[in-house]
């Protein structure tokens, strides 16, 4: 297995996976011949529990090395010479239960900004936008561990958004969340879509989320099936349909 990053003239940032095989304790988790995830794509990743959705996302994020196959990025801004062989930081991965660092909401929100070369005005503008979008105004001084589940998820998405990533992967972003937070998170995801960020979203309960998606990846029988047809909202059991649709129209 070799991680490589080819920087071509192609303008769109994208990640390609070829002949990928992932095994876990000597049994195959999934395999796939070709996968392409690029800017502007909004992909719904479906699969049963334990089928490998999170593992696939982590592979594309460069956090896990597949057992076999090649994963490489294209169209990303070149990094320092010693970082060119890594996908890390190219496609941002958000955990189902996001990890917030010890410290304040503001510390978490601005964590990634130190890596970016931004002017002071750009920096403050991004922080303001992220705060407004996630409605974290009153929580900035709070300790991150004091936040509710929905607030944690909003902060995690805002923390990723502030980087303005070209590709973003969200693992079950609205699971176990109240309706208000679902609406806000969905509005944030919709905003990311409109900004042209490539999105790969895994979810079980997905009415509003699937409505946003244009492609469908399904991990079934240890293989990843790709199609341009996203399952209809009605096909998935969804108790919060109304709220989620409301979110997408915001």
């Amino acid at each position: 297995m070799a991680w490589t990053t080819n920087l071509s003239t192609s303008k769109l940032a994208q990640i390609h996976a070829q002949n990928v095989l992932m095994t876990f304790q000597k049994s195959t988790l999934f395999s796939v011949e070709q996968l392409h995830f690029k800017q502007g794509d909004v992909i719904y990743l479906q699969g049963d529990n334990g089928s490998g959705k999170s593992t696939l996302m982590k592979i594309l994020a460069g956090l896990i090395t597949p057992t076999e196959g090649t994963v490489y990025g294209q169209g990303f801004t070149p990094k320092s010479w010693w970082q060119t062989d890594s996908l890390l930081g190219k496609a941002v991965y958000l955990h189902q239960h996001p990890y917030l660092f010890e410290g304040s909401v503001k510390y978490n929100l601005t964590y990634a900004l130190n890596q970016l070369k931004l002017t002071a005005s750009e920096r403050s503008s991004r922080i303001k936008q992220a705060i407004n979008m996630a409605q974290l105004n009153d929580l900035l001084g709070h300790h991150a561990s004091d936040l509710s589940g929905g607030e944690r998820q909003r902060l995690a998405i805002a923390r990723a958004w502030i980087m303005q990533p070209k590709l973003l992967m969200l693992d079950e972003p609205i699971s176990n969340m109240d309706k208000h937070s679902q609406r806000l998170v969905l509005a944030m995801i919709n905003q990311l879509k409109q900004d042209g960020t490539g999105l790969l979203i895994s979810s079980h309960q997905t009415c509003g989320l699937t409505a946003l998606c244009q492609q469908h990846w399904h991990i079934k029988q240890k293989t990843i099936h790709t199609s341009m047809h996203v399952p209809a909202a009605e096909a998935v059991h969804q108790p919060n349909t109304t709220e989620l649709h409301y979110g997408t129209t915001n």
Binding site: G62, L63, H97, Y99, F101, E102, A112, R152
Partner: protein, 235 residues
């Protein structure tokens, strides 16, 4: 008998408060040697602890067990080893470090490192893996991600540092063998306590013992204040 104890305590306090040059020279040597050993081993030990916790290289199990074994080796045995290394016929004999502070620092480094490596490995092994993944996926470099983990684990890592420092500051076997207990050169608190007690000069021994007790109290207060909001996490 009680009056005798009180008189000894009084003498001990007066030795400390009157800034008795002999007592403070011993304290100074003790702290400078132990701080030097701690400073030299601190970063490499933490990094090695991180590597042992996060990587899965061949032989990791052997290295881990070896380091854990080194923790429990008596300091006098480490003193013997360093003595043999530094003696004129030894591998490091040309350095002429026997009965010097450099020799004591070398000995204390060998005592200190296994404690810090083992405790930092335990700390890194207990960290939520998502902390590392989140840091890396948000574009942090390898070094910044390790720093982030250290920040997350500041209490157990500080505990590792304090445990290692306490061990070297209070060990007597290695300092006695490698340092030789030479006044104003290599006599530190534990070797001085041993010597003064054998001579029957309990006042100085108690004064130096008090310094160690006060230090233990200060270190615990520092640890308590740094603990801050580092409460068990629910997520």
């Amino acid at each position: 008998m009680n009056e005798g104890w009180l008189a000894l305590l009084q003498q001990a306090f007066s030795l400390l408060l009157s800034l008795d040059p002999d007592v403070w020279a011993i304290i100074n040597i003790s702290f400078s040697v132990s701080f030097a050993a701690l400073l030299i081993t601190f970063i490499p030990s933490i990094v090695l602890g991180f590597i042992l916790a996060f990587s899965h290289f061949r032989g990791r199990w052997v290295v881990t067990n070896l380091i854990q074994t080194l923790q429990s080796i008596p300091t006098v045995v480490i003193g013997l080893l360093v003595y043999l290394l530094l003696t004129r016929q030894g591998v490091l004999g040309d350095l002429k470090w026997l009965f010097t502070q450099q020799g004591m620092i070398l000995g204390q480094m060998l005592i200190c490192a296994p404690v810090m490596i083992a405790l930092s490995q335990a700390a890194f092994s207990s960290v939520d893996r998502r902390a590392w993944e989140t840091s890396r996926t948000l574009g942090a470099s390898w070094i910044r991600a390790v720093w982030t983990l250290c920040r997350e684990l500041r209490v157990p890592l500080l505990l590792a540092i304090i445990a290692a420092f306490s061990r070297i500051l209070t060990e007597v076997g290695c300092s006695m063998m490698v340092g030789g207990n030479i006044m104003n050169v290599t006599r530190n608190i534990p070797t001085a306590i041993a010597l003064e007690t054998s001579k029957g000069d309990f006042a100085q021994a108690i004064a130096l013992g008090l310094v160690l007790l006060i230090l233990a109290l200060v270190l615990n207060f520092i640890l308590g204040s740094l603990r801050g909001k580092a409460l068990p996490r629910s997520h």
